[in-house]
Symmetry: D2
Subunit: 355 residues, 4 copies
Amino acid sequence: MAGSTFGKVFRVTTWGESHGTAVGATVDGCPPGIELSEDIIQADLDRRKPGTGGAASPRKEPDQVEILSGVFEGKTTGTPISLIIYNKDAHSKSYTHLKDIFRPGHGDITYLKKYGTRDHRGGGRASARETAARVAAGAVARTILATEGVEVLAYTLALGGIKAAQFDPEAIGKNRLFCPDLKAAGEMENKIAATKKQGDTLGGVVEVRTTGCPAGLGEPVFDKLDAEIAKALMSIGAVKGVEIGSGFEASEMLGSQNNDSLTPDGFSSNNSGGILAGISNGDQIIARAAVKPIPSIGQEQNTINVAGEPVSITIGGRHDISAIPRIIPVCEAMICLVLADHLLRQRVNFSSAER
Amino acid sequence: MAGSTFGKVFRVTTWGESHGTAVGATVDGCPPGIELSEDIIQADLDRRKPGTGGAASPRKEPDQVEILSGVFEGKTTGTPISLIIYNKDAHSKSYTHLKDIFRPGHGDITYLKKYGTRDHRGGGRASARETAARVAAGAVARTILATEGVEVLAYTLALGGIKAAQFDPEAIGKNRLFCPDLKAAGEMENKIAATKKQGDTLGGVVEVRTTGCPAGLGEPVFDKLDAEIAKALMSIGAVKGVEIGSGFEASEMLGSQNNDSLTPDGFSSNNSGGILAGISNGDQIIARAAVKPIPSIGQEQNTINVAGEPVSITIGGRHDISAIPRIIPVCEAMICLVLADHLLRQRVNFSSAER
Amino acid sequence: MAGSTFGKVFRVTTWGESHGTAVGATVDGCPPGIELSEDIIQADLDRRKPGTGGAASPRKEPDQVEILSGVFEGKTTGTPISLIIYNKDAHSKSYTHLKDIFRPGHGDITYLKKYGTRDHRGGGRASARETAARVAAGAVARTILATEGVEVLAYTLALGGIKAAQFDPEAIGKNRLFCPDLKAAGEMENKIAATKKQGDTLGGVVEVRTTGCPAGLGEPVFDKLDAEIAKALMSIGAVKGVEIGSGFEASEMLGSQNNDSLTPDGFSSNNSGGILAGISNGDQIIARAAVKPIPSIGQEQNTINVAGEPVSITIGGRHDISAIPRIIPVCEAMICLVLADHLLRQRVNFSSAER
Amino acid sequence: MAGSTFGKVFRVTTWGESHGTAVGATVDGCPPGIELSEDIIQADLDRRKPGTGGAASPRKEPDQVEILSGVFEGKTTGTPISLIIYNKDAHSKSYTHLKDIFRPGHGDITYLKKYGTRDHRGGGRASARETAARVAAGAVARTILATEGVEVLAYTLALGGIKAAQFDPEAIGKNRLFCPDLKAAGEMENKIAATKKQGDTLGGVVEVRTTGCPAGLGEPVFDKLDAEIAKALMSIGAVKGVEIGSGFEASEMLGSQNNDSLTPDGFSSNNSGGILAGISNGDQIIARAAVKPIPSIGQEQNTINVAGEPVSITIGGRHDISAIPRIIPVCEAMICLVLADHLLRQRVNFSSAER
């Protein structure tokens, strides 16, 4: 049973491959009466657009979203919203030399094992290209959240081992890496430049901070809000770890340190990351994703071909040095999808009279 | 929309509160012809039984599972398997003094915010008691996995900041903490004893290792195998972080370090944790869960009551010092649920003739 | 992928076989704060209880429901409600002579083909016994509907070719067959008595009438309210046809006859059966189910055994002459499940502020 | 929770309104390696194309399907198949005079009640236009079924009260109404012509016959094969009733008449319609749908406007006299979706080794 749908009440189904005709998403379950336009969605997509600098690939990718259904006279109708982004820069020929080779760190071998067949054109469905559809759908989710005062913001906490030492929200918009510490951002850029020369790549850590989320979102047991967030972030190709609040650090803390005291003015700390027993507590929701270095490196690598024979491979072309910063809006989108879904799910618990 | 069901093809629905009549699980989607008995399930439940030593609570909890349906003459029939574990040791009276107080680190306040009502008897649905049903259902999943040679093993990687320095599978069964390093296990016991005296609690890290998993499990995009594992582990109450393979460490590695080379004899390393592009690659699947310290500590804490007034609270009774080791079989169960589901999901890709 | 769960927001999972330990249902997604007790559920179950007269089997079946979870101090908590009905009258031995024979009209052969194995004890999961769990779960749905003024009533429209000539709601409670026409009910009883002497069985038609249903329930396209009702009723073992409003008669009407005119006081007729374009229009919802005669007849029948050899079979024991009236509360329950689910599903379309 | 997705393993999500940019469907869960092309899908769509004769509207509607993803080198890849059909003939202006009026028999009023808003352009999502996407997705399902020898054929059993007196499969392709009785087809055409003159419309009955379906498809309890078929057919806008096998007639038969005897050569009759206890028995699957007359009639009708005031309405334009024959391929498509889904669902019950 395939897995291209996310969410239960606010449901997003994505489709499309990196070098096919288009990628897209269908949003089923968006409430009626929400203001929506291509411009609103485009704004999020543009943040995903590669820059001209070192970390991002210079490959042109002018993602233009079109709304094909579900919006009438500037508002959602309650019926499915179909979003499409045509692939304008597809050069499937450039991948033919990789047709019979498994690239290390990529899904080439696992897709072949899974399906008995392989779409070798640039990763196919496994390509980061697919995340453009997530960002478009996430923008729809964000408009719903905005109507209830919920804001989701992602930024770079670390890149190549260099960590942001402070959280200055103003700084985020002032550097290409969406880092909340301008000094650290500068060091990260230097690291990127040096790594590029070596033909190597870098990973990092993205943090997503949600403010204004009402208490009560998330469902007991399996669909806990943190469990859904973990799935959402880990479903992004490059992510290898997810934390909520104090996260892995909590494993070394004492209970007396990790517990957040309740006071008449709110929680005295936020080690819980805004989630207690899987349900939002009204505090900021803090999630982090560990991003692995991009597997397409410029150096020669050892691998095998489909016949199982050892070969060496050098992946040419102009690739990104790090999934950061392009992964930033994707992380935001995934959190928006989770929260919009649970905001709507919580509505079923009470009739209008009871609220 | 509630969240008490896990899995899509192998579907488990759990129910029950800590101090209600019983807890249980219904497994829908178990294939026919699998050998199953109460003894097989009981073996997993017994591993969850509290010991007499320091880390675990001395409260008696003799979980006896009954199979109410879906098994005939020692084999599954293909119809739902209903499992029930009666609560024999429910003392709801002992919680009445907490009726109007929000315990720090617990879901007391979030359940009230969510439902407008509260079952104050020992955590209700948020209690770790609920995980007994998961372990029972996980045992069913394990029998399916066993028929295809898949084995899932969880153990303690760290407790209270003390880390296992080696992985000796023989050691796991020889200490109460399921630690693969007997020397570290001893140090952990000392730490537990010292922490108990302080009325405090400890967290840790659990690692789950799966061997024999065929390549090809997991679905592209949202239902990636690692995304499902992340949700599965994070849905356990005490877990605040999840990693796959090199995990958070990957965020500081170079691409040339983190990539696992393919050779005719398999992968040369396993930074991927056995999962590439969300699909199992045939190698060992390595997942880790960060476990927070138990929030019920023996020390006095500041909190508020339902009227929002500041109060202090001291939680009496005999509580565990750490969710480890009792969380170990729960982690195993959740991984079993994910893998059994995806093993069955992968079957739909091919007709019997094509395999 | 198994099919023991019904509903998307109000979700019911049933389990249990006719001659196993028990049957039961887990309701996940019931809102909190609904008054619920075993007595409320028992009232619906008692309507399903076999009488002493001709149509129903004299086999004792004192279905006593127990609520195992999800209710605290007389109200639902929002967490799963587990319902169990122990099988007190299971004589699996009495079916051993049928072990290797396929009974005509029963699922013996199809279950074997499906699962490669067979639980021969009285039909197993295919038995009408399973519907006790539906009735119990339906009673929970009914309490939700009642809070919003929705009432569901089923009755016998025809039995053995004899049709009710009038709809007198008072009459329904005054005869064992739940027929709204006492004169027709008398004729039906005579037909039952005569058929019983012949060792044969009868079918009939059940109508379900819902009053007080708000407009706006049902979802465009696949989850239309009438589509969900059709599935709900057809999922009852004995049902072979379903109609809404003018139903099959509509196929012979002109558009000018079948259209219901709108007036300031409501619709001038109800050929639509209360559903337009798959969404409730505020009028009464009228659904009908065609019930086939019970396949277990007293006469000798030709069939085959598992080896494919022709054999003759005479099914002994005391069986019902018709699925009516015991199917009546089952039909009600299924409509309650559909409507409660869609009542809750409609809540997600508006925030509390918008209503 | 919206309802634009059908199926559990073979999952189809449709989107699009009658007078929007396009309609489309995303198929998730199609196995890899199935031969698929736009030509294969177009063949089914062309059967839905309006003819020039009396029953169908002369409005041009050249539905051209495009495959946007999921197919590589002529075969499915296992990833989502996105299908799009642009609306070339959308005249939304022609509906502006209906903007504030509720057309009898249409969903105008129920959509407004549901969403608080209305897309008045020709029915929006409730339009039969939406079924083009179903037919396209159904064509994908049909290719899967074909690989296992399953064939689905729909035809006109009755139209305007005139019934086919015989089943001549050769005849179906020889008349515009897909009627298996050429003499009846002629009478139906006369009835259509006469009704057209009166400005009225007609209903009818469609029968769908499936051959080659293996035994064992369908799931016990709620997802019975007949329950799924009932939902599938009733989800088509014009359908008001569904029957399987002997259907409503069974309600008047004796058990001894309705039971199909088993013989070494198969069943002696097919009153079950190929489904026993909700599971296919290997015989032909026979389903019928009652189709109501098209509500858009040429005569003046009484209705109300959005202010609740009585008004009269005459719906101009060239509309179809009957949903038959254009509904025929839609019925086929829905049965194909059900069967493909259950064919794949049944695969999970056995590993390749067991088959």
